[in-house]
Point group: C2
Chain length 343, copies 2
DNA sequence: GTTAGCACTCTCTTTCTTGGAGTGCTAACA
DNA sequence: TGTTAGCACTCCAAGAAAGAGAGTGCTAAC
């Protein structure tokens, strides 16, 4: 059943009011709040309908109504009026364009949390499909070999290997050339056993080193795959009584501490390649079960081709969706601008 | 005034009991709990004395007594019976000897939290006095110069610099030699302007690069100084009603999230060079003010000469001091064993 | 279709009551 | 002089009772 115009307006008024106050909304309030000029009795009738349709709930017989998950969903899908919203501090951060990715991400999470008064998370972009760009072996010590790996996007990884045999700079140079000519431009998946065997042959007596180096490279690139997640503002949940009781707060805090639990949120997003928009999970819809009393708004950002991460904002169901979505959209644009400009 | 033997026994009984139950302890309980064979009336008299001396407090007139901060202090200084306590899982972790220091530290924090049921923190060891061991410049791209810096303890830092001029491998080799001969073995503090000028002269037309490289090195080593702190088990505070009210919980969680606030704890410890033992802060004694209702037990660990960090355990004042101190001591020994063996 | 009016329900807050735990004091005892 | 039994007293915690307020659903009138 489609809602008629009036029901929609009432619904909207109920939600708006509840988002602000967190208290059940009564018919009298609506009667004054809207420009419908209807008496509270009429509103009551309409509200009874809306309740029957499942959009609102009465916590107990003589209380006002609060939106159900279905009601929020309606609001989010059809009634929201998000505006683009600048976050001044963010601009500053983004302009600086920190080369330390982790600093940048931590900052974004923090500013976002301060600005929205909700908890935030941000996952570091995933690089896994990237190509090897450069490999450098150097001797740090008589028996310690430093392996530096640079992949596209200028992500650098280091390993130190212990080696038995003595290596002079000449051999090192050869090995460097060997590795770079064979491997540069390849992704991890493209390196196969044939190549490795060929390289080992060419390396002669130093073949074992080649093996170790490749293992080290593979491992250090792999290590990046268990994904980094930064969070901020977890303490904001205490601002919302409906989340602040011990049981719930404890579960939520745990989720933010054991960032493993947040990965679901990221994976859900990145799995779907076309999904670059903003996703809203209300209550039970969220993939993280400790957040079943929250709403979660996520957005996927993309820095360069294939380098994508997820930003999430976690708050009570009566979160200010307009503001959150607006803020996220603006942030996405700013990130786009920043990284498109650069290229 | 010195406490006589009997008062001490009563004091100890009060604390032991309170640590277990978290409830005020009455005279009747003590009368049965101890082997003193005294009536509750006698105990009452003694307790009145202890209260006058400031070791115990009566929350209200008709309640039992609870230890004051001074009482805990007495217990901790004179009555504790810590036993060395193995933490089986820790052994496993330490034996593996992860080369990724951050993984290791996270794991230690986590296991310690699970084991004690308190919140834990661990600071990454500080390297700042360490010497430059190795510098390597390589060209990643036509205009991108990779600077790899290794300092003693095999801590590796990377930077990528954008350079205007074209550099060939011959020049690069020269610059590499120049940098390494001048700088290896020095600490950051020992590099002075004279050296830099000398190097720039020798570098001739590439002197600006030398300047940039040194800046990059300095910066990346500095960056390590804002110290890493890993935490775990913050949600454990919800297990102790005296910490779990919204106000306190929020402050504590904030401290664990904004790890900056925990730095005080680390600095307090590391400042004092001789202080390698275990330190207990009770209530107001703690340097972090949001923890004024907690007790904090810290220990300093040392991996290699000069590489020290701090481990902290944060719980309610009625924390099981014996267990916590025992566990920390054992952990220190295990770390010692591990790193002494290696050398 | 809308509205005024009214009885009804339920929660929240406040007040009062009661039971229990524990104390401090006194007086008796060894 | 130290220890103990006994008793009156205090205070909190939990429950019961009462009242206020908010909001509803229903009916009847417009």
């Amino acid at each position: 059943m489609q809602l008629d115009e009036r029901k929609k307006k009432i619904m909207q008024a109920i939600i708006r009011n509840y988002l602000e106050t967190g208290e059940p909304v009564g018919s009298r309030t609506i009667s004054k709040y809207t420009d419908l000029n209807l008496s509270s009795a009429t509103i009551r009738n309409e509200m009874a309908d809306l309740e029957e349709l499942g959009y609102i709930i009465q916590p107990h017989t003589s209380a006002g109504r609060i939106p159900s998950d279905k009601g929020y969903r309606l609001y989010v899908d059809q009634m929201m009026e998000e505006k683009e919203r600048e976050v001044e501090e963010l601009k500053g951060i983004l302009l600086e364009k920190e080369d330390k990715m982790d600093h940048l991400l931590k900052q974004v999470a923090k500013v976002l949390a301060q600005n929205t008064n909700y908890a935030t998370m941000i996952s570091a972009p995933q690089y896994h499909r990237n190509k090897l760009k450069f490999i450098q072996l150097s001797l740090v010590d008589a028996h310690q070999l430093l392996v530096v790996t640079v992949v596209e996007g200028n992500v650098i990884k280091n390993n130190i290997l212990n080696v038995e045999e003595k290596l002079d700079s000449e051999i090192l140079l050869k090995l460097n050339i060997l590795l770079n000519t064979h491997l540069n431009g390849l992704t991890l998946e493209e390196i196969n056993l044939n190549m490795i065997t060929a390289m080992k042959q060419q390396a002669g007596i130093h073949s074992s080193i080649i093996g170790n180096v490749i293992d080290a490279i593979a491992e250090s690139i792999k290590a990046d795959e268990d994904l980094e997640i930064y969070t901020s503002g977890a303490n904001n949940i205490f601002k919302y009584p409906e989340l602040a009781d011990n049981q719930k707060a404890s579960e939520l805090i745990t989720a933010f501490e054991e960032k493993k639990l947040l990965e679901e949120l990221v994976e859900e997003r990145l799995a779907d390649d076309n999904n670059t928009g903003i996703q809203i999970y209300i209550g039970d819809e969220t993939p993280v079960k400790s957040m079943k009393d929250c709403s979660v708004v996520t957005a996927t950002y993309e820095l360069e081709e294939g380098m994508r991460g997820t930003i999430g904002i976690i708050g009570p169901k009566r979160m200010d969706y307009d503001k959150v979505v607006g803020t996220l959209k603006t942030l996405m644009h700013q990130l786009d601008d920043l990284y498109k400009k650069k290229e």
